[in-house]
Symmetry: C2
Subunit: 350 residues, 2 copies
DNA sequence: CTTAGCACTCAATATGTTCGAGTGCTAATA
DNA sequence: TATTAGCACTCGAACATATTGAGTGCTAAG
């Protein structure tokens, strides 16, 4: 489809545009990338590439700018050339749990770290899968009308929630229910839930209603595939020249802050493990059309964890992918560092 | 110090400036606020007020702008005139615990809600005080070398943390320790800790080291006065005309995002209960010199909770204070609403 | 197929002009 | 003595108008 030279021109345009941020003209290419050929020749190639949809002009008689199609080719090339040794990690998720503040703290730190390394916006997410297995549950009385519902999943993820319990439920009954559920430790919630159906009606007598309420709360906590998302520092966005247009910036910002759209996006693309890149309008969120997302996902039986960076379409993909690889690597080797923001110079990595 | 009329002029300037955002001139005042007097008279008063430090001119031959001193007088007046019935709430903190996602969820929602109502930036914080009392602790084995440390305080606040435990500590020993600690339910941690000292050396034999480590972890979790802070949507900042200067905006944004400075500020001012206002440079954070903070704090035995709004110095104080009062009131009456962001029109409340 | 040359386009920048709100001061007035 | 009207002056904001320069498309020559 593309001749050798066309590809060369295309990649050069993308590369130069990523560096300079300005439309790239034929003269520049001729001087810096394809020294053999003259500007006029390159102009012809560029005209062809524009016709094919890889380049476009912001206005008549201006330099060319890459389209999403061009970025796609560029990124795929980068991904292919990535050193073999840094690919194919899928086990790092295991280490996260060792972080001193639990999974939430770990993901928070990871997203911050990614923000710093990439100088864009780091993010980290975990999705509770339906196959999560129960480790232990507990009910703790808080006061006369409230108790705390506590669920620990295999792997150390903890959910808790205060439940208003107006019915007259004795501590004994609660403990009984908890004990019963805990014998089913190691099973998926769905199985546990089914196994308990009969028990409730048989063994509990007048406490049936209350126990059912407790179970419903548990169900709400465990049945869905809820995603928790952490976004690193958004401050870096201010330094990105692509986002100077204040009104679009505001829109972008709102989307990132609300997290909902991002979570959807990640859920959609994260189903297979490994590194992926979503460029510009490839994501379906209009506010994110000027952004690209580089992410890596890793699934274990009970949860899917994703780390990623979101930045301008015109981001430095090599650097971001390298940063992501590095963080994944750090997680593999040491768990997360205790003090991720105490580095100071980790910013202008070459 | 100030004559009646000077005060009137001063308050008018502040009021008009808050509304319009532009320097206010003598003519405007004469027409809208002090209809009896002519512009020239007011000019003289303004010149005096400027000399006294209440007003300033952005440049020669421009209107006047209030200084922080002027805001101070204005705000104090507003606070004094506030309807009696809405003051003096100190019990709302109790209700927070009923929120379906626990205290953290409640504070997150509260900060969002405040953002929406005020159209500035809402925030909510809780500081764990040293007097917090223990309800229950638990150790749950996660895998061979990790266990989950779980602390529930009176009131339903939950802390948890995965601890790496390389020593050979049996489940029995852990359970024993937990049981022992749980007999001290209802005491402050300091007391619990002291009471346990002897037990460790007496009853545990070779497990002493491990138990000491567990206790150290607990201590780290409970001894300090750590503040958790939630910041509502920052998106509103974009709509504030005072913050259009991109470079100062960026600085402000970073401070708000990092939360550290804010937490310090709240810790410093939150010691006595009730509503307070910090105007401009009265706070010591240079990046916040164009901002004011309106907050309300409430202490119980175990924790201090604060709700607040941060906005431009030139904020609509009446409206913000009313919003805060209203949220406090809502908390008192219903706990927090289940779906605080599903309101859509809650924005331009009059 | 490639290259040099030329006329043309268009955004960005700089320059100049006008406009209006607001002040300070002074002299007249109640 | 306190207040007001009048006037000259200042300064930023907004608009219109040149100027510049990088880049293109096209054509004709190599």
């Amino acid at each position: 489809m593309l001749t050798e030279r066309q590809l060369e021109v295309l990649l050069s345009v993308v590369h130069e545009f990523i560096e300079s941020g300005e439309q790239v003209g034929s003269r520049t290419l001729s001087k810096r990338y394809l020294k053999g050929r003259s500007a006029a020749t390159i102009r012809n190639e560029m005209a062809d590439l524009e016709e094919m949809g890889y380049l476009m002009q912001p206005h008549t008689s201006a330099g060319r700018v890459p389209t999403t199609m061009a970025y796609r080719i560029f990124v795929d090339t980068v991904l292919q050339r990535r050193p073999r040794g840094e690919q194919g990690r899928g086990t790092w998720m295991v280490r996260l749990r060792e972080h001193r503040d639990g999974l939430r703290g770990a993901l928070g730190s990871a997203s911050e770290l990614l923000s710093q390394l990439s100088s864009y916006v780091g993010m980290a997410a975990v999705t509770q899968l339906k196959q999560a297995r129960l480790n232990k549950i507990d009910f703790v009385r808080v006061d006369t009308s409230h108790f705390l519902l506590l669920v620990i999943l295999e792997g150390g993820v903890v959910h808790h929630r205060v439940v208003n319990m107006p019915y007259d439920l004795s501590q004994d009954a609660l403990e009984d229910l908890a004990r019963k559920i805990n014998t089913l430790s190691g099973y998926e919630w769905k199985e546990v839930s089914e196994a308990l159906q009969s028990y409730i009606f048989k063994g509990l007598g007048k406490y049936t209603d209350s126990c059912r309420k407790a179970l419903d709360e548990l169900d709400a906590l465990l049945a869905g595939e809820r995603t928790t998302l952490f976004t690193g520092s958004l401050a870096n966005l201010f330094d990105i020249p692509d986002f100077q247009d204040i009104v679009r910036f505001r829109a972008l910002f709102s989307v990132l802050e609300q997290e909902g759209e991002l979570a959807k996006l990640l859920a959609q693309y994260g189903k297979k493990d490994g590194i992926g890149v979503i460029i510009g309008e490839e994501n379906q969120v209009p506010e994110l059309e000027d952004c690209s997302v580089v992410f890596s996902s890793s699934s274990t039986e009970g949860a899917r964890t994703m780390l990623g960076v979101i930045g301008p379409k015109r981001m430095n993909y090599e650097r971001v992918i390298a940063a992501l690889d590095r963080v994944l690597c750090d997680i593999d080797m040491d768990g997360l560092t205790d003090n991720p923001d105490g580095e100071g110079d980790g910013h202008d990595e070459r």
